[in-house]
């Protein structure tokens, strides 16, 4: 890549990475995995930089396809579950936040294609046709995947409404996200 193309590519990365990272985070649930996913997409874009008319669309397509093919590998790799736990915001005892936590756990248990469909439909607000085109399947498949994913989410969140266990629900009396043995004082001066 010549210096001009390189500068142009770096500008494209700077402009498009926030949106792609958001979607990638929603897909993977992990910052590092999201960065890996987006970086892989950008690498592929860089390889075809000169011939690409719509690099952003291409990067998105690569990202979603890579996510699906990476899924099993990512599942085998380390999963820093604790990262979810330390993100709790102040006052996170409301029903909304509890539901979001449940949904997050449930999303983690969906298959890669179902999760991709939900992210595209409800985070990116894409139509069924656009999702089908991007994932390379029929609109009927998108509808059925979305429907199954929603049913599965409902099942998973209903089952988590059962009496909580230490593994599924936070202690409602605990506001400090720090693990035992540490404390965040958050004092300012």
């Amino acid at each position: 890549m010549d210096p001009n193309s390189e500068a142009e590519f770096l500008r494209f990365v700077a402009n498009s990475s926030p949106a792609l990272l958001r979607a990638a985070y929603a897909l993977t649930g992990q910052q590092q995995a999201a960065e890996d996913l987006v970086q892989t997409a950008f690498e592929r874009v860089a390889l075809r930089w000169r011939g690409l008319a719509e690099p952003y669309a291409y990067a998105r397509r690569i990202m979603y396809h890579e996510h699906i093919s990476w899924w099993r590998r990512l599942r085998r790799r380390e999963v820093p579950v604790a990262q979810h736990d330390d993100k709790a915001a102040p006052g996170d005892l409301s029903g909304d936040v509890a539901l979001r936590d449940d949904l997050r756990v449930a999303l983690d248990r969906l298959g890669p294609r179902q999760r991709a469909v939900l992210v595209l439909r409800y985070l990116e607000d894409r139509s069924v046709g656009e999702v089908a085109e991007l994932l390379g399947c029929s609109p009927g498949t998108v509808r059925s995947q979305a429907s199954r994913a929603l049913l599965r989410l409902r099942d998973l969140t209903i089952s988590s409404d059962a009496p909580p266990t230490a593994a599924t629900r936070p202690d409602p009396g605990r506001t400090d996200p720090a693990p035992a043995g540490t404390a965040k004082t958050g004092v300012e001066r």
Binding site: F9, A14, L21, Y25, Y122
Partner: protein, 373 residues
């Protein structure tokens, strides 16, 4: 029962947690690697088609392309003293003013890569430590984090979003003397949260910890206090990914002193003594391999130079002290390993430093450029 709007809000709040990352240069490097692999793959296929037996070493190139040490091309990044102690007071750089500012509190242990924040540590009642994250400018909120045990440092991730703090098991001098740490505290600086994790090093202890990249830590290990025997690569989740022995006699610090080698791009700067001069090498802790010599330095017998910063090139920054001097103060000098000489540093450097931290001057305003080196 979930509603679509709940799902939508959940996905949005989830996506909002994604943090910005600078992916452009890494993507370009990745693309170059991919291109190289493609070329090698094509070559291998052509050779096979031609009926030539391909030596296994050629196939190995797919994984080991390139030397252990990749010296960066282009202009060197200037450095600056980011914090120092003199006369029992600590001073930190104010990047906007380009001057040093005296700060109160504990010992300054690190300054963020963009020079906007610094951390200091203080022990409370001998049983816990308080880590403070404060703005170098002196204006803005401070964050205090209490850690059970004896926190003994804090290192910023290259992107400045994480801090890792090694913690000795118990705040007891005997324990401290006996062995290093087994626990680390990871601070998510942007969110102001932290979590403590045990690093399972079997029968070893950690002696120092640094960031190999934004998600992986390099932990120096030891079996006997201050005698480093290897380097473990550890994920942010505390999982040990690999451990490799550090070849004997590759520490840049004199015997009996803790040695935290400078790190660049996941590789550590190590030293060997070839009889008279000190030879510098890059040690790759992921593979356990030592690269060829970057160069060497021969200092007078009364002068000690310990590398404190390295950008992967042949110009490490040394903290230099004259052992005959009464005040045992340090100066910082850039070593030119290619020629074996020490560069002069510009005037205006702090004097009588008894502790010194050095970093990149990337976040420094034009006003501070005169003190960079």
């Amino acid at each position: 029962m979930i509603e679509i709007d709940d799902l939508r809000r959940s996905l949005e709040s989830f996506a909002d947690q994604a943090r910005p990352a600078e992916l452009g240069p890494a993507a370009l490097n990745g693309a170059r690697r991919r291109r190289r692999r493609q070329r090698i793959s094509v070559t291998v296929v052509l050779l096979l088609l031609a009926g030539i037996l391909v030596p296994i070493t050629v196939l190995n190139l797919r994984h080991d392309a390139g030397p252990v040490v990749d010296l960066p091309a282009g202009p060197m990044r200037p450095h600056v003293v980011t914090a120092y102690a003199a006369g029992q007071k600590w001073y930190v750089i104010d990047p906007t003013a380009g001057r040093y500012r005296q700060v109160d509190g504990g010992s300054v242990v690190s300054v963020s890569p963009n020079l906007q924040l610094y951390t200091d540590l203080a022990t409370v009642n001998g049983s816990s430590s308080v880590l403070r994250i404060a703005p170098t400018s002196g204006t803005g909120p401070n964050t205090f984090l209490t850690v059970a045990g004896w926190a003994v440092g804090a290192a910023w991730s290259p992107d400045g979003s994480w801090l890792v703090v090694p913690v000795l098991e118990a705040p007891d001098e005997a324990i401290k003397a006996e062995h290093g740490f087994t626990d680390i505290v990871l601070v998510d600086v942007l969110n102001g949260t932290m979590r403590r994790q045990r690093v399972d090093l079997d029968d070893r202890y950690g002696s120092w910890v640094q960031w190999a990249d934004n998600s992986t830590l390099a932990v120096g290990t030891e079996r006997r206090r201050y005698v480093g025997d290897g380097v473990a690569m550890v994920s942010r989740a505390g999982k040990v990914l690999s451990w490799h022995a550090l070849p004997a006699a590759q520490s840049c610090a004199p015997d009996g002193l803790p040695a935290m080698p400078p790190i660049h791009d996941g590789k550590l700067l190590t030293c060997t003594n070839n009889g008279s001069a000190t030879e510098y090498h890059a040690f790759d802790p992921r593979r356990g391999t030592t690269g060829p010599a970057l160069g060497q330095m021969l200092l007078p017998s009364n002068v000690r130079g310990i590398p404190v910063l390295w950008d992967g090139d042949d110009r490490p920054v040394l903290s230099v002290t004259d052992l005959r001097s009464q005040d045992a103060s340090y100066t910082v000098r850039v070593a030119r390993l290619a020629t074996g000489t020490l560069e002069d540093v510009p005037k205006g450097q702090p004097g009588a430093m008894i502790q010194v931290l050095v970093g990149s001057s990337d976040g420094l305003s034009a006003a501070g450029r005169k003190i960079t080196f």
